[in-house]
Structure formats: structure tokens, C-alpha cells
Symmetry: C2
Subunit: 338 residues, 2 copies
DNA sequence: AAAACTTTATGAATCGATTCAGGCTCGATT
DNA sequence: AATCGAGCCTGAATCGATTCATAAAGTTTT
């Protein structure tokens, strides 16, 4: 418990505590000699700033909270990594919370972050979270929505156009000759899921000819749920199966891929084409390399954190919506071997 | 900035600040009436405890730092998730830092966590980190090594027996008839890598007959490095290639799997058997389902956090090493189709 | 040489929760 | 009636960094 405080440093350097604080925070206003002496004292005593005291007095925090929908999903791993990179430029650390699509956990983490008085919150929300975020804002804690468009414009957001992404995915399936398409995804409390489905519907309706679009609902966006959905599809007689599946994310798609096999032979892509969403790094390495809608995940994280810091620096800023466009990545899972 | 402090609550409830604090921290010593009034005041004013002030005065923190070697690796995602689960039981949040095998970043995060005066630190270290951790300990911050055995017993650790894992993996390769084995992994600053190699060497030496074991070094444990290593192997004449590869982790193995193809046909497992380490959830969904050494990743995280909390509660505790055994998971990548 | 600035340093007040020595009430004990 | 103790409450002191009004020293201007 060798608690070395700023007072000890001041004493050792033969200056006042105010001067030490100035060396730490605005070295320009201190003489070179004092800076040298203080720095030497810091060195020899092994002084480390007490962030709690700093936060208490100055009201500034060096942590940002990040509430993530699904920590297991490499997509969010990449997003967090982007935020982390951007944060480390300015000494910001990430307080991390994984909700696993559970509103209770979501609330818990927001409470925790409020107690911590984080500088701001990045959140990929489950359901409607605005009232809770408004309250944080009233306390001076900004929030930026990640991977979710802020419909009412009350908060800044960084997202990918999921509707367009859904449309592009299904257009691709139609272009490669598929007509009986299934959308696999859920729960529908997650906005990205409904958006991707909406885009898929639009594509099906605007196709020149008739296209079936059925919805296979899942409880969560995981590999296991994908496999379960795939098993349900496989349980049907062959003629009633879709000839293409658009999965709401790559985890579901990888699960589906595992399930869509008969006697060791996969039905993908010949009988059933399969496309996912996110283009996580494992999509390319899948049993059948997976076509997917790529999101610039790392850039989403970087951008979200940058906007958050800008907004906390200047609270006058008006919320702004940043929307990236997804990119179609075609691989074997939608390319029939002739 | 409606900063509601304990003072406001006290005033509203008509009691002193001391009483409010007591209601918050030891409600048993306060009359039922006071508890009621204070709670009502907290409710109506929307009071939230200021963790910075609490930390400053009481010296207790509700955050734990977690320094992770590679945030992109789903294995660590699982470990973090385990720690998070265990922490949320007692209102502990995770401050997250990803070093990406960079000692500078590792130091940066430890500095940051020290400033934050976290309750303790979980770390999967790169290279030798003991002196730095000793310093944290002197400051009252405990540390538990994750996924790394603490050789000198100075700190508690939770890990998997990597030597045994390496041995089991190579024994499996030998048992399925392979004799020219390559170990792909690096950098050797990472203890797990050297341990797995040591295990592999032991297996090769103790095999009844002669077994070749070559080492193909990589710069990092990523899919990209695995692919690069695979390309180097493929550049050799066919007769000089190994007939089995043990990759230091699954990311490398997945990269290798991508590289080990000739004209669209994979050499795995017929010409080259391939086994990884970690059994991340994507191993099963790979192009050729990947054999791997499974680690109980989530349990590692839970256990590490539990031990950390126990140690911070009672500093007298002696460091202890928890070692789980890995489990061989055989899939197609080491099972030759006859 | 006096006046007017600059530059730099000082140290007390402050942030909000916790702690703890001391005080008050009221019923029980002597 | 005096004393004691239990139960509860009070409020000042405290944690460590920052801030800011004030002062001291040094430099330039008149």
C-alpha cells in the first residue's frame, strides 16, 4: 500500500502540489527546471496518478463503456477492437459489457457505467433503449449507437445500411436463379434483423417474376440456433425446402451449413444457396466458403468512438447518423458448381 | 449535469449524510423508518452513487482489468465471457484491453489499470511480466495469470496443461500413421507456444519408431500467419512436405487449411493431417472440420475471476495454480478417408 | 527609477462518499 | 433518582488531484 500521492511528489521535488499538477496537465506553464525536478521525483517515487481523485475533482473520465449484443460474435470483437484502437490514441480504456440479447443485463451494465461516470457509452442496443440513454445524457454521459441506425435522430449512430444489405443479398440470390428463398433470423426485437428482412422482402417483391420468401424465426443469432433452424428445414420433404437461404448473420449461416448435409454430402450450394451477413473472418474458411454481406466492422468501432469523443468535447453538437454501405462478397456458397 | 449527491438525498430525506451512507452500505444499523425515507429520496431524486468518490475514500474498486493477448481470437472471447459472468454476480465490470502480442500495449494497459486502481488484473501475458505485476501487487492490486502457468508460483494462475496438450495432439497424429510432422507456431515469447512445442517434441521422441518433427515459425497466432506458413509449405516439392501439421492454435490451423489446396482440392487430411488447439466454435464448421485440443475456455475465465476476488478479499492467501486438462477432439482433418 | 506587465509558483478550497468519535433518547438496572 | 447501555444518528475529517485567487520574482516600458 505504498500510496505515493501528488503531495509526496511535491515534497520530494521541493515544489507545491499545484505545480506538480501543472506539470502533469499543462507543462507549458511551468518552468523547464520545475518540470525536470517533478519528473525526476515521479520517476524515483514511482508515482501513478489516482484516477478516482482526478475524476472526482475534474469530472473527466478516461473510460468509455461499450455494451455489446453478443461478445462471442467475432463481428463485435472487430468493432470493439476498432474502438479500442481509436481510444488508445487518447488514453481511453474500454469498460466492456456483453448483454447476450438480455435486456436485464443491458440495464445492469448501463447502471454500472453510470456509477462509473464513464466519459460516454457505445452501445449496440437490444430493443428500445432511448429513455435510458436520455437519462444518461441528462447526467452528462453521451451515447452513440453502434450497428444500429437511430431512427428518431436523438442520438448519433454508426451503422451499416441493413435494409440495403438485405436487399442486395436477396437480389444476388435471385440473380443466380433462386426463387424459393428463406430468411433465417431472430429475435425481431433486434433492429438489424427486421431491417435485413425488410430489405429481403423488398428485393423479392421487386423481382421481375414471382419469388417466394418465407421466414424461419430463431431465438438468437448463434451457430447453435442456425443449426437448429437448419435441422427444421431438413426435416421437410425435399420438394418443400427452399432453394436459397439468407441468414441474418454469419453465425446462423455457419450453423445452417452444418445442418444442411445428407449422408456427409452438403446441399450447399447446389440444392440450397446460402448467404450470411457480416463477413466475419471465419466465413471465408467455412466448410463451403460463405458468401456474405461485408460490414466495415473495425471502422464502425473507430468511427463510433471518435464521434463519442467529439460529442463529449462539445455538447452543442447535433446528433448525426453515419451509415456505411455493406458490400456483397460472393464465395462458393452461392456459386453452383455446374 | 443534474449532479445529485448524497447530500441532496440527505436533505430530501431529512437525515444526515452519514445516515444515507449507512443505508447504502450497512442498512442493518439504520432504523426501518430512515431506510424507507432515504430510499424514497433516492428514488425521487434519481440518485446514483459516484463511484469515483467511493473509490477515493474507501479504496475499493468495482472494476477488474483484463489484458488479453488477442481479442480477435474467439478463444479469448469465451474466456472474457466467463469472467464477465462471474463478475456480474457481484457487480464487477471488466475493463478490457487487447495487447495483440505487443509488449508496449501490454505496458500501456497495465499503467492504465493502475491509474484506475482496479480491484485486480486478469492477464494472459506476453513474455515475462512478473516485475510489472509485482509492482501492481505492491500497490494492492492482485493479478491472476490466465491461460498461462505461473512457473515460479509468485502469482495465481488458471491455465490448461499445454505441454500435455501438445503431447496428446502429436501422439494422435502418430497413432494415425503420420511420421513427418511439422509444428507451426510462434512467436516463442508466448509461453503457450513453447509449451505446446515441448509437448510435441516429447511425443515425437517417445514414439516407438523414428518421427520427424520440424518447426515452422510464425510471427503471430492469426489466420493470416497460418495461411502464410501454409504457402511456404506448399512451395516445397511434394516429397519434402510434412504428412501432418500441428498448429499452435486454431486460427493458424484455419489459415493453413486455406493454404493447403492444389487446384481447388484440399490436401487435408489425405496428404497432410491437420490439428489445431483451443477448439474454438468455428473449428467444427471449417472447410474440413478441424481436429483440435479443446480448452474449457469459459470455465477458465470464471475460475480466474473467482480466484482474483478471493485473493483481494484475503491478501494472506497463497498463490495457487489451477490447471485444466485439454481434451482431444477428433474431426475430419485428421481422419483419412480411406 | 518607477510603473506596468509577464512568468511562475503557492496553497487553500473543492469534488462526493465514507468513517468514526461523540451525542441523543429511552427504557432497563441499581 | 441516578446510572447505564442499546440503538440510532450526526457532522466534521478524510481520501488525492485540480483549480484559482494571490503573491513573488523578473522583465520591459516609460
Amino acid at each position: 500500500m505504498a500510496a505515493v500521492s501528488i503531495r509526496d511528489v511535491a515534497q520530494h521535488a521541493g515544489v507545491s502540489v499545484g505545480t506538480v499538477s501543472n506539470v502533469l496537465n499543462r507543462p507549458g506553464e511551468v518552468s523547464a527546471e520545475s518540470v525536470r525536478r517533478v519528473q525526476e521525483a515521479i520517476e524515483t517515487l514511482g508515482y501513478v496518478r489516482n484516477d478516482a481523485a482526478r475524476k472526482l475533482r475534474a469530472g473527466v473520465s478516461t473510460t468509455v463503456g461499450f455494451v455489446v449484443l453478443d461478445g462471442q460474435n467475432p463481428f463485435f470483437g472487430d468493432v470493439v477492437r476498432g474502438a479500442e484502437d481509436e481510444g488508445s490514441k487518447s488514453g481511453i480504456a474500454i469498460l466492456y459489457g456483453n448483454t447476450d440479447e438480455d435486456p436485464k443485463r443491458e440495464r445492469m451494465y448501463l447502471d454500472l457505467f453510470e456509477e462509473q461516470q464513464v466519459r460516454g457509452v457505445l452501445i449496440s442496443p437490444y430493443g428500445d433503449i432511448n429513455p435510458r440513454l436520455e437519462r444518461l445524457r441528462a447526467r452528462g454521459i453521451a451515447a452513440v449507437l453502434v450497428d444500429r441506425f437511430s431512427g428518431d435522430g436523438r442520438f448519433s449512430s454508426v451503422s451499416v445500411d441493413s435494409v440495403t444489405g438485405g436487399r442486395m443479398a436477396v437480389e444476388h440470390l435471385i440473380a443466380t436463379g433462386r426463387r424459393r428463398i428463406a430468411f433465417v433470423g431472430g429475435p425481431f426485437e433486434i433492429r438489424q434483423v427486421t431491417d435485413r428482412l425488410a430489405g429481403a422482402r423488398a428485393a423479392a417483391e421487386n423481382a421481375g417474376e414471382h419469388v417466394d420468401l418465407e421466414v424461419v424465426a430463431t431465438d438468437a443469432l448463434t451457430v447453435a440456433d442456425g443449426a437448429a433452424a437448419g435441422a427444421r428445414v431438413m426435416a421437410r420433404p425435399r420438394s418443400e425446402r427452399p432453394d436459397a437461404i439468407f441468414a441474418a448473420n454469419d453465425l446462423l449461416a455457419l450453423g445452417l451449413l452444418q445442418a444442411l448435409t445428407v449422408e456427409g454430402r452438403t446441399l450447399v450450394p447446389d440444392e440450397i444457396a446460402l448467404i450470411g451477413f457480416d463477413d466475419i473472418s471465419f466465413a471465408a474458411a467455412a466448410a463451403v466458403p460463405l458468401s456474405s454481406m461485408r460490414q466495415p466492422s473495425r471502422m464502425i468501432g473507430r468511427t463510433a468512438l471518435r464521434i463519442l469523443l467529439e460529442e463529449t468535447a462539445d455538447p452543442e453538437l447535433i446528433p448525426r447518423q453515419t451509415v456505411f454501405q455493406p458490400e456483397l462478397v460472393v464465395r462458393a456458397s452461392t456459386t453452383p458448381r455446374r
